[in-house]
Symmetry: C2
Subunit: 130 residues, 2 copies
DNA sequence: AAGTCTATACGAAAGGTTTCGTATGTCAAT
DNA sequence: ATTGACATACGAAACCTTTCGTATAGACTT
């Protein structure tokens, strides 16, 4: 099944911007700049990055108002899917299970998380199955 | 609990080399070069990369023989742990559970994988627990 | 001893990311 | 109309990654 266009992997700085867009929805450059939590970074830096991201197809923008309005080209879930797949390829030799176990083994998942994961597991392959 | 020194994130090319070292154990540059599956890349390119990796602390080398012998500074599991943690931070806002679900939802895990993951889950928080 | 093979070291180009200064344009209020 | 606030565009520096050519040296063969 042909995957959607397949967009370049976002770099670190690009990912930080995408996170803002995913959280806030549509944003101007100024809004993104204000909400970027990381270290201080200039306004024009963010602007330039977002312009590049338009060229790469990572974000779309609406130029109808003076302050252009940007939105992520991919929904968060899809982008995360690509990131996980990429990491699995690069570092886990294609074994998603191995990656999952690492995530589970390193604390990070709360009890509620574990319950939710278990629920997902049960949906995918019920306990009673062979 | 203080984590070990914490080594810089390996780049793509560095990760490819690390995978060879993890699979083969100790290697000379030539051995790594021969075993690199990816596209053709010159011998001196691999050499240079591995020299840089020594500087960064990603690999150690034994210079006692004419052909230096390299090994990964971190065991595979630990490096993978750092990669997963990093991805969780950068793209999943710290929610490992979210990353796990992505991995699970995208096919990749076989039935055997799922069984193994379930086993791990049961160990971490038994079904009977509150 | 000279030649060949193989090793490391090193410099530097090519390409990508990230940074920001400066130029320029638009709008609104004086 | 001039000014001030704020917007985009753009060029270019600084930095990192990846690539490889060339230099140099040790070991082995002839």
């Amino acid at each position: 099944m042909p995957r959607p266009p397949a967009i370049p992997q976002p770099t670190n700085a690009e990912l930080a911007i995408l996170r803002v867009l995913w959280n806030e929805g549509e944003c101007t450059v100024r809004e993104v700049h204000e909400r970027l939590p990381e270290r201080e970074v200039g306004y024009t830096t963010v602007l330039k990055l977002m312009q590049i991201m338009v060229e790469k197809g990572l974000v779309r923008r609406n130029e109808s108002s003076r302050s252009h309005v940007y939105r992520a080209a991919l929904p968060e879930r899809e982008a995360q899917r690509q990131l996980v797949t990429d990491l699995v390829d690069r570092a886990f030799e294609g074994s998603a299970a191995s990656l999952v176990m690492h995530a589970l083994e390193n604390n990070l998942a709360t009890a509620a998380d574990l319950a939710e994961i278990r629920k997902l597991l049960d949906e995918r392959s019920p306990r009673s199955a062979p």
